[in-house]
């Protein structure tokens, strides 16, 4: 022990640095070798990081989609506002055409019954606005998908 007694704290710290070097002094292969010697399996950690990256990218994409939707919102509202209701005699015919073209099955029957039961011009205009909104939003989501 005597031969080493004369070395101070600083030299012993260098001894530790020599025996267990900092990663900055090592190549990637040496780092991997050390980890393997210590029995460390990085598989689960790599998997967790891959998952975190996937979620972060999805969140990033969702945010981008939200930004696009926010940007496009004024134009959707403008298009809705631009839908002028036609004179009342023509409304029933236009509604009938829209229901036949845009819907099928039970939904078509529902709207057809709504059209039949619409007594006043206000009822017809309200139904036309609903269907026009559906059309606009449907086109909008088609655009987003493409």
């Amino acid at each position: 022990m005597k031969s080493l007694d004369r070395f101070d704290e600083r030299v012993w710290r260098r001894f530790f640095d020599f025996v267990f070097p900092d990663e900055r002094q090592l190549t990637r292969e040496q780092v991997q070798e050390d980890l393997s010697r210590a029995g460390i399996d990085l598989g689960p950690a790599l998997k967790a990081i891959g998952q975190a990256l996937k979620h972060a990218r999805e969140a990033h994409d969702a945010r981008a989609a939200l930004e696009t939707a926010k940007r496009d919102r004024p134009s959707v509202l403008q298009r809705l506002a631009g839908i002028a209701a036609p004179p009342s005699p023509a409304i029933r015919e236009r509604l009938s055409q829209m229901i036949a073209e845009r819907f099928s099955g039970p939904l078509q029957q529902v709207y057809a019954r709504k059209l039949e039961s619409a007594a006043s011009d206000d009822d017809l205009r309200s139904l036309l606005e609903d269907l026009s909104r559906l059309e606009v939003f449907s086109e909008d989501s088609d655009d987003a998908e493409s």
Binding site: S3, F15, F18, L35, A56
Partner: protein, 211 residues
């Protein structure tokens, strides 16, 4: 981790390839392993004391640090921290310090170094990039466990003493040491492996309660 994200903003993900993320994880884990070793958190010579640290391993800490900047739990500004690995190390070090304060409330380390000649306590070297005092104290204890075995080795192999003399003269890199001693660097690496095994063995003995 359990902390809420620092803001509702989606974190900017550093643009690294899969392989670069893997290397980052490897190097950060290696850093954590070294920190564990400095503090003597061995279970045996090579494995780490997960149970004594609330089930946390070096790779857990590295993974947590990386995931925290991916999911935005920790902020990451590439302009402020251009060296991502360095930034991640500071996150991991902070966690290690917390683990240490939880673990070491039971153990009191002497925070003063000792002059080997006079045996008097002297203040810890206050130079620039020193680790925190608790870490140094723990590291001194770890080195202390192996001192006797290393002294025996030094008597068998004069190269060990020569290495200490090189470190004293601030010749520290294996290639420089080899050049100074006029030997092939592989010989230095062989001594390094032998000394490492001695430290690991000494730590294993200590953890098993043997002197």
């Amino acid at each position: 981790m359990g902390r809420p994200p620092e803001s509702t903003e989606v974190a900017e993900i550093p643009g690294l390839t899969e392989d670069e993320w893997a290397e980052l994880l490897e190097r950060l884990t290696h850093h954590c392993v070294r920190k564990f070793r400095m503090r003597g958190w061995w279970k045996n010579g090579r494995r780490f004391d997960r149970a004594g640290l609330g089930g946390v391993s070096p790779q857990d800490l590295a993974q947590e640090a990386i995931v925290s900047i991916i999911d935005g739990t920790r902020s990451y500004d590439p302009k402020k921290h251009p060296d991502l690995l360095k930034h991640l190390k500071s996150i991991a070090d902070s966690r290690i310090s917390h683990l240490a304060s939880a673990k070491e409330t039971k153990t009191t380390h002497c925070l003063l170094a000792e002059n080997p000649k006079t045996r008097e306590a002297v203040p810890i070297d206050p130079l620039g990039d020193e680790p925190d005092p608790a870490e140094m104290a723990a590291n001194r204890e770890v080195v202390g466990w192996a001192k006797e075995a290393i002294a025996v080795e030094a008597e068998k192999d004069p190269r060990v003493l020569e290495l200490f003399e090189c470190w004293e003269a601030e010749i520290t890199k294996p290639a420089e040491v080899a050049e100074y001693l006029g030997v092939d660097v592989t010989e230095i690496y062989n001594v390094q492996k032998r000394l490492r095994r001695l430290v690991e063995k000494a730590c294993a003995r200590r953890k098993e309660g043997r002197p």
